[in-house]
């Protein structure tokens, strides 16, 4: 049976403190003057409930920026695949980022599946946090249908006036809430409030671009030769910000790090960006994606075209991070709008 709980805001401090005692608790916190980041918290005062998407998405807990995947000993010619992991409660994940994690789950479950990712994922309990309104003008979650959660969480919290309504989606979530006395079953009043808010959301969140979602795939499929890539080529600095902040970018490099004894060492998986010049270059020097325009096109195709073929799903969550972070002001909404114009 579907289960809803409530937590009154008066109890929020206590709630966070208790959660942090059960296992490592990670939540959005303020970073710098205007930005946010997921980080470890121990008290409610550290948590920013009202935040725009964090600099890096929560993918950093699922595939860390630097991750040891192999340890070796040269003299013994011994190679071991290794995972370093910990149990984490990931609190306050917006619905766009829930969708991002779902995309990564698909990729790393592809055969041969990446057990490093899969085991780490199992050790993370996800508490989502619904967005009742837009974070800012960069988001396209309405178009991508990620303003509401489509699964992908153990618990989902919705902020309503003096309380949170919590949807329990998994047994793990139920078990965790069972440990917290301040969380009560939801009453009819709370459910009415929730429904009222959801109805209001239907008006607030509308497709941000004038295109039907299902038309995005054909739009991109037919746009390999579009002129927009030439103008983006001129704009792009090739800094890699757009891919590093993307919740569904998962490309990586593997680096060898040997100790100074030249015997023990490890292989480290590191985030890599298809926007950097050497990404598709082979050691002979041939570069298969030498143009910045071509590299940007590749990034877009990996969101709107290729994954749709493979997983029947877009890999753009609508979080808006790529546009928000781009110094050259390459804007996802504008790119799509230009493509629509070009097609006409």
């Amino acid at each position: 049976m579907e289960q809803y709980l409530i937590l009154f805001k008066n109890d929020f401090d206590d709630f966070v403190e208790r959660l942090a005692k059960i296992q490592k608790l990670v939540a959005p916190v303020k970073r710098g003057s205007k930005s946010f980041a997921f980080d470890e918290v121990t008290a409610a005062e550290d948590v920013s409930l009202n935040y725009i998407p964090t600099i890096l998405p929560p993918k950093k807990y699922f595939m860390p920026q630097n991750e040891t995947i192999v340890e070796y000993e040269k003299k013994q010619n011994k190679w071991e695949a290794i995972l370093y992991s910990e149990a984490i409660t990931l609190f306050g994940v917006h619905t766009c980022d829930l969708a991002g994690i779902q995309c990564l789950n698909l990729v790393f479950s592809d055969r041969p599946n990446d057990v490093h990712y899969i085991i780490r994922k199992k050790r993370i309990l996800i508490i989502g946090l619904e967005c009742n309104d837009y974070c800012d003008e960069y988001a396209t979650c309405g178009l991508m249908d990620n303003h509401n959660a489509n699964g992908g969480y153990d618990l989902l919290m919705t902020e309503l006036e003096d309380r949170f309504v919590i949807h329990v989606n998994t047994v793990d979530g139920e078990e965790l809430m069972g440990k917290l006395a301040m969380v009560k079953p939801a009453d009819a009043e709370s459910m009415t409030m929730l429904n009222k808010m959801r109805n209001k959301k239907r008006e607030v969140f509308q497709p941000e671009i004038d295109i039907e979602r299902k038309e995005l795939k054909p739009l991109f499929e037919e746009s390999f030769q579009a002129e927009v890539w030439d103008s983006i080529h001129e704009k792009c600095l090739s800094c890699g910000n757009c891919t590093n902040v993307c919740p569904t970018c998962y490309c990586y490099d593997v680096e060898d790090e040997i100790d100074l004894d030249f015997n023990k060492g490890k292989m480290v998986r590191k985030w890599d960006s298809c926007q950097s010049r050497p990404f598709a270059m082979i050691s002979g020097g041939e570069n298969f994606r030498p143009e910045r325009g071509g590299r940007q096109r590749h990034r877009y195709m990996r969101k709107f075209n290729y994954p749709f073929e493979k997983y029947n799903r877009y890999f753009c969550t609508g979080c808006g991070r790529c546009s928000r972070t781009c110094m050259a002001k390459i804007n996802l909404k504008e790119t799509i709008e230009t493509l629509i114009e070009e097609k006409k």
């Binding site: 970073r31 710098g32 003057s33 205007k34 930005s35 980041a37 964090t54 600099i55 890096l56 950093k60 920026q65 630097n66 001129e234 704009k235 792009c236 600095l237 090739s238 800094c239 890699g240 910000n241 590093n244 902040v245 790090e257 040997i258 100790d259 100074l260 004894d261 030249f262 985030w271 960006s273 950097s276 010049r277 050497p278 910045r292 972070t325 110094m327 050259a328 002001k329």
Partner: protein, 249 residues
């Protein structure tokens, strides 16, 4: 593996990069177990004319420097340029924005200028072949160790040609441009783990530029953030004047 003999040399520089090595702390013991240091003026009094690896700090700024670096190159099997002065010319490159006579009289005075010969600042590779580049002002110690390992194994090492922004994002720093500051991260070669920005400073471009020139894009960004062009050029010239016109290493 036979331990290689290593000698440190300084040219025009502040010797701060060698100080970084001397200051390694515990890891220095691991390094000293892997190499045999035969000359390192900052930490020992012994000297040697024989060495496998020459680690060069400083730029080439006098005719005497040119002769000396050529001799070192002939002796050493491996030459490592240590720090910006050696790897890209660095701060000393600012001299190249002025006439040599003016520089001479400014530094040594009208009476002294004739006693000291000077030439435009050059990075080490502009005079002799360099096998490894450890960029930075000062060097980033973990990168030095990493490159040293490649050098000791006799394997080529290429500094990854991507911007400081890449590492900065992975460290999840708030962008300096968001704070209203100008930062050379977008055009500066990574490898320092965005060291300065992690500690709240901007990137000064001390590691040299990324290979791909994005002139139009850079001008766009400068305009958008309303940054005076001469100001950004001043920042750029601070480290990159000596090597601005060459194909980037």
């Amino acid at each position: 593996m036979k331990r290689k003999t290593v000698a440190f040399f300084d040219f025009t520089c502040c010797e701060g990069c060698q100080l970084q090595v001397a200051n390694f702390g515990e890891e220095l013991l691991d390094i000293l177990a892997a190499i045999d240091v035969v000359m390192f003026r900052e930490v020992m009094s012994e000297k040697s004319d024989e060495y496998d690896v020459a680690i060069i700090e400083g730029s080439i700024t006098t005719p005497h420097d040119v002769e000396r670096i050529k001799e070192i190159r002939e002796t050493a099997t491996t030459v490592i340029a240590l720090g910006s002065c050696a790897s890209i010319g660095g701060i000393n490159g600012m001299k190249n924005s002025f006439k040599l006579e003016d520089v001479q009289s400014y530094v040594y005075g009208e009476d002294g200028k004739n006693y000291f010969e000077t030439i435009p600042t050059m990075a080490v590779h502009q005079v002799v072949d360099v096998d490894y580049f450890v960029h930075g002002c000062p060097i980033y110690p973990p990168e030095f160790v990493k490159i040293l390992k490649y050098a000791l194994q006799g394997l080529p090492y290429t500094v990854k040609d991507e911007a400081v922004c890449v590492e900065c994002k992975l460290n999840e720093n708030e962008c300096m441009y968001e704070k209203g500051l100008t930062c050379l991260g977008p055009i500066t070669k990574a490898g320092c783990n965005s060291w300065c920005i992690n500690y709240g400073n901007i990137c000064y471009g001390c590691r040299g530029m990324v290979k791909e020139t994005t002139k139009n894009a850079s001008i766009d960004v400068i305009k958008k953030y309303d940054i005076p062009m001469d100001w950004i050029m001043g920042k750029f010239d601070m480290y990159n004047k000596a090597t601005e016109s060459e194909e980037k290493k």
